[in-house]
Amino acid sequence: MSAIAASLPTDAGAAGCGDAPVLRERGQREVFCGLTGIVWLHRKIQDAFFLVVGSRTCAHLLQSAAGVMIFAEPRFATAIIEERDLAGLADANEELDRVVARLLGRRPDIRMLFLVGSCPSEVIKLDLARAAQRLSQRHMPAVRVLHFSGSGIETTFTQGEDACLAALVPEMPAEPGSARSLLVVGALAEVVEDQFLRLFAALGVGPVRFLPARRAADLPAVGSGTRYLLAQPFLAETARALDARGARRIPAPFPLGAEGTTLWLHAAAQEWGVGERTFREATTIGEQRARHALLRRRERLSGQRVFFFPDSQLEVPLARFLARELGMVPLEVGTPYLHREHLAEELALLPPGVMLSEGQHVENQLDRCRAARPDLTVCGLGLANPLEAEGLATKWSIELVFTPIQGYEQAGDLAELFLRPLARRARLEV
C-alpha cells in the first residue's frame, strides 16, 4: 500500500475526534468583524473597489487592520454615515449615489464595486441590495456593483471573505452543457495558485479555475459539471451558492502541510479518476520537499502544547497539521464557528482528546489558557502582548491569513510561523 493511501483516513470515527464534544460559549467575543477581509480581498481582486457603508468606527477598523500598508490610493474606503443621514435631512440613498459617482469618477480603472454592509447600515436597514442594483444599472457596463455584509453583528473575520465570494457566485457565467471543470474556492496567494495549477496539470485534472479571479472580468464559469475544492475552511455561504448553481463540492481536508496538501489533491485526483501511480509521480517530489522542510522544525516543536483562541476558522485544520506533522499537542482548539460538514475530514484526523470550543467567552477562555499554561498560544492581536507579558509565548493569528501558507512549498513556512515565537524566546537572554 502506498504511503498516500496509508495516510488516508479509513476509520475516521474510531481514530479521530469527529464526534468529540464541543464546548459552546456565549460571552464577550474578541474577534474582528468581516470588514477585515477587505484588507486582503482588495489586493486579490485587482480591479475591484470595496466601499464600506458604515461609521467612523468601520473606517478606523480598516485603517488599523491595514496597519502600515498605506497604499497611495487603496481600493477601499468608507462612506461614513453622518447625523444628517440618520436624521433624514439627507436621503441616505441619494448620498450613497453621490459618493459612488464621485468615487468612480476618480477611479476609471475600477470594474467592480462592492457595497459592503456594516453594523450601522444594517441596523438602520439601508437596503444595499437595492442600492447595488440601482447603481449597477447606472454604471454598467463599465462597472458592476455588488454588495455583501461584513458587519460585526452578522460576520466574524474571515466570514467577510465568504460573504464576498458568495456575492460573486450569481455573477459567474453559466457553463454550457455539463463539461467537467475544477473550481478552487477561496483567496490564495498568486504564487500558491500557480503551484496548484502546475500540480493539477501534472495530474491531468482540469480545466482549473479560481474563485476569486484576479480580475473582475475573469469570473470563472460554473455549471453542473463543476466540481469544487475549498481552499479555505470558512466558506459556508459560498459553498451553498455554488451548490445552487449545480456545482458539487469534493470533500477533502484543507491544503495545509504535506499531508493536508496531498489529501486535498488526492480528493480531486480521485474525482477525475487519476491512477495512484500518476498521482504519486505528480506529487511525490513536492510532498517529500515539504516533509523535509518540516522535519527540522518538528524536532523543535514536537511535544509542545498549543492553545487556540477563536479567530479565522483555520484553527481546526491548523491544529490537525500541528498535531500530525509536527507532533504538537493541541489543548483547546477554539473556533468562531464549527462547520461540521466542511470540517468532517479534518475532525477525523484530529488526535483524540482535543477540546474543541465554539463561540467565545474571552474571560473564561483566558482563565482556561492561564490554567493550562500552553507552550504556545495562537490568538488575536488584542491578546498577544498581554499574554506575552504574562509569560506565555504567542503566535498572532492574523498573520495566518495574510501569509501564503497553503501547499507543499509553503508547509515549511507555515511551521516556521509557529516555531519563530519559541525560537525567539530561546535566544533572548534579557
Binding site: G27, Q28, R29, E30, V31, F32, C33, G34, L35, T36, V53, S55, R56, T57, A59, H60, L61, Q63, S64, A65, V68, I70, A72, E73, P74, F76, A77, T78, A79, I80, I81, E82, E83, D85, L86, A90, A92, E95, R98, V99, R102, L103, C119, P120, E122, V123, S151, G152, I153, E154, E363, G380, L381, G382, L383, A384, N385, P386, E388, A389
Partner: protein, 515 residues
C-alpha cells in the same frame, strides 16, 4: 455621507478608551458589536501595552437585536464588576449601540452596584476621538470631583506652597508618557508639588482630590480644556494656557506656572536647551528660510509652527489641523505667520495643499509622512494619529527643554539626510557612489538606499514631453529642488502650450520663476 479612506481620528468611544485605559481602578463597559474589539490592538500593539485595556464589550450579534441586548449589557456589566472589582464603572455605547438606543447608562445604574457608575454619551455620528476623550474626562472629573466642590462664591484660601494638577495625558497619546516626566521635572525645579496627574495613572479616588490643588497645568487642550474650564468655574482653579513645546513656549510656560504658584521662575529658566546654540552654530545656516508645511492636531501644529519660524528660522508655508474644535486657535496662529490655515480631516486635501505649497520639509502626522514620501519631500512626524514608531524605547518628550532638544533633532535630521543624499546624487555616475551602491557604513553589498532617488510625482497627462538634453540637465539640479524645478518648468510649458521641453524652456522657466 463622507467618503473616507484614511482618517486622522477614530470614533469618540476610542477617545473614551484612551481615558479609561490611562486610568487605574476604572472599567469601561462598552455596548458594541464584536468587531469593535479591534480597538484593543491599538493599545496592545501600537503602545505595546502589557495588559488588555480595561474594557468589556457586550458584543451583541444580529440575533440579539430583536431580543434582549439590554440584558446582555446588564450581564456584561455585572460580570465585569465581579471579575475586575473596579472603583468605578464607565458605561457607554459605540456607533451601532447608539442606534439601538438601549440607554446603557440608565441600565447599568439599575443594577445597584456598590461602586459609582458614570454614563458617557458620545454622539458617534457627529464627533470624533479627541472630542470623545475630552467629554469622557470631563464627565469623570464632574462625577468624582463634583461632590466636593465648594459653594459658589467661596474664595480659595491662600496656601503656603501652591500645588497643581497635571491634566490631559492619556493612553495612546503622542509622547504623553515622556511629556509628563519632563513637565514634572520642570515643576520640581520650580518647587511646585504635583497633586494629581490625570487621566494618566489616576484612580477615580484621585479625581476626587483634584480640587485640592491650587491650579491646573493643561498639557493637551484637546483632552483637558473642557475639564479645566469646569474646574476653574467650580473650584476657582486657574489653569495654564502656554503649552511647553519649544524653547520659547517652555519659557512662557515656566513664567506662567511661576506666576500661578507664586514662585521664582529663575531655577527652571536657568535650565537650557541645546536648541538655541545648535540653531546658531554655522552649520545650521543652510536651514535658513527652509519652506516648512505643518499639519497635525492643533496643539502640536501651532507649537511646531512657532518653533519652525522663530527657533529654526524656517519659513512656514502651510499650517493646518484636523482638530475642528480648535480651528480658531490655528487660524489665529496661521495669520501670525502670514498665511491661511487649512482646517480639514480629508488627507487628500492636505496632500493637495502640500503639492501646491511645494515645501522643502513637511511636519505632519503619519499620513503626511506617506504623502511626503510620495512627493519626495523630507518629513518629520510631530503629531497623532500615533504609530508604533511614536512610542520609542528611549526618553523622547516633545515638551520642556529636553523636548526642544528632541524636536531640533526631529525637525532637522530629515533635511540633513536630504543633504547627504544630495552629495550622493552629485556622485551618481561615479563608480563607487552610483545609485545602486549602498551607503558605505552599511558594508559592501548592502541594499541601495531607497531614498536616493526621490519618487517624482505623477505628471498630469497634458504635460509636454521632455527633450533628452533637458531631462539630463534636470538631473544635475540638486534633488531637493529638482521636483520643484520640474513642476515649474512643466507648468511654464503648459501655460505656453510648449509641446517639447528643451534646455531653453528649462532656463526660460527658471528665469521666469526667479523673478
Amino acid at each position: 455621507m463622507q467618503l473616507a479612506v484614511w482618517t486622522y481620528e477614530g470614533p469618540p468611544h476610542v477617545g473614551a478608551m484612551r481615558v479609561a485605559a490611562a486610568m487605574e481602578g476604572l472599567h469601561y463597559v462598552l455596548h458594541a458589536p464584536q468587531g469593535d474589539t479591534y480597538a484593543d490592538l491599538l493599545f496592545t500593539m501600537i503602545e505595546r501595552r502589557a495588559t488588555r485595556p480595561p474594557v468589556t464589550y457586550t458584543t451583541f450579534q444580529a440575533r440579539d437585536l430583536g431580543g434582549d441586548t439590554a440584558t446582555l449589557l446588564k450581564t456584561a456589566t455585572l460580570d465585569a464588576y465581579e471579575r475586575f472589582r473596579p472603583q468605578a464603572i464607565l458605561v457607554g455605547a459605540s456607533c451601532t449601540a447608539e442606534l439601538i438606543q438601549d440607554d446603557p447608562g440608565g441600565l447599568a445604574r439599575t443594577l445597584g452596584l456598590p461602586v459609582p457608575v458614570v454614563p458617557v454619551d458620545l454622539p458617534a455620528y457627529q464627533r470624533k476621538e479627541n472630542w470623545g476623550a475630552s467629554e469622557t474626562f470631563y464627565q469623570l472629573v464632574r462625577a468624582f470631583a463634583g461632590p466636593r466642590a465648594p459653594r459658589p462664591g467661596t474664595v480659595r484660601a491662600a496656601s503656603e506652597t501652591r500645588c497643581c494638577n497635571i491634566l490631559g495625558p492619556t493612553a495612546l497619546g503622542f509622547r504623553h508618557r515622556d511629556d509628563v516626566a519632563e513637565v514634572r521635572r520642570l515643576l520640581a525645579l520650580l518647587g511646585v508639588p504635583v497633586n494629581v496627574v490625570a487621566p494618566l495613572g489616576a484612580t477615580p479616588a484621585d479625581l476626587a482630590r483634584l480640587g485640592e490643588a491650587d491650579f491646573n497645568v493643561v498639557l493637551y487642550p484637546e483632552v483637558a480644556m473642557q475639564a479645566a474650564a469646569w474646574l476653574k468655574r467650580n473650584f476657582a482653579q486657574p489653569h495654564t494656557t502656554a503649552i511647553p513645546i519649544g524653547v520659547g513656549a517652555t519659557r512662557d510656560f515656566i513664567a506662567e506656572v511661576a506666576r500661578l504658584a507664586g514662585v521664582d521662575p529663575a531655577p527652571a529658566l536657568a535650565e537650557a536647551s541645546r536648541l538655541p546654540w545648535y540653531s546658531r552654530s554655522v552649520d545650521s545656516t543652510y536651514l535658513t528660510g527652509k519652506r516648512a508645511f505643518i499639519f497635525g492636531d492643533a496643539t502640536h501644529a501651532i507649537a511646531a509652527a512657532r518653533i519652525a519660524a522663530t527657533e529654526l528660522a524656517f519659513e512656514v508655508v502651510g499650517l493646518g489641523t484636523y482638530s475642528r474644535e480648535f480651528a480658531r486657535e490655528v487660524r489665529d496662529a496661521a495669520r501670525g505667520h502670514g498665511i491661511e490655515a487649512l482646517i480639514t480631516d480629508d488627507y487628500l486635501e492636505v496632500e493637495a495643499a502640500i503639492g501646491a505649497a511645494q515645501p522643502e520639509l513637511v511636519l505632519g502626522t503619519q499620513m503626511e509622512r506617506h504623502t511626503a514620501k510620495r512627493l519626495g519631500i523630507p518629513c518629520a512626524v510631530i503629531s497623532a494619529p500615533v504609530h508604533v514608531q511614536d512610542f520609542p524605547a528611549r526618553f523622547s518628550p516633545q515638551m520642556g527643554f529636553e523636548g526642544a532638544n528632541v524636536l531640533f533633532d526631529t525637525l532637522v535630521h530629515p533635511l540633513m539626510m536630504g543633504l547627504e543624499e544630495h552629495l550622493l546624487g552629485m556622485f551618481r555616475d561615479d563608480f563607487e557612489f552610483h545609485d545602486g551602491a549602498g551607503a558605505s557604513h552599511l558594508g559592501a553589498g548592502s541594499a541601495p538606499a531607497a531614498a536616493v532617488q526621490p519618487a517624482t510625482p505623477p505628471l498630469p497627462e497634458s504635460v509636454g514631453a521632455w527633450a533628452p538634453e533637458a531631462e539630463k540637465e534636470l538631473k544635475k539640479i540638486p534633488f531637493f529642488v529638482r521636483g520643484k524645478a520640474r513642476r515649474n518648468t512643466e507648468r511654464f510649458a503648459a501655460d505656453r502650450r510648449i509641446p517639447l521641453i528643451t534646455l531653453e524652456t528649462l532656463y526660460d522657466a527658471k528665469a521666469h520663476f526667479s523673478r
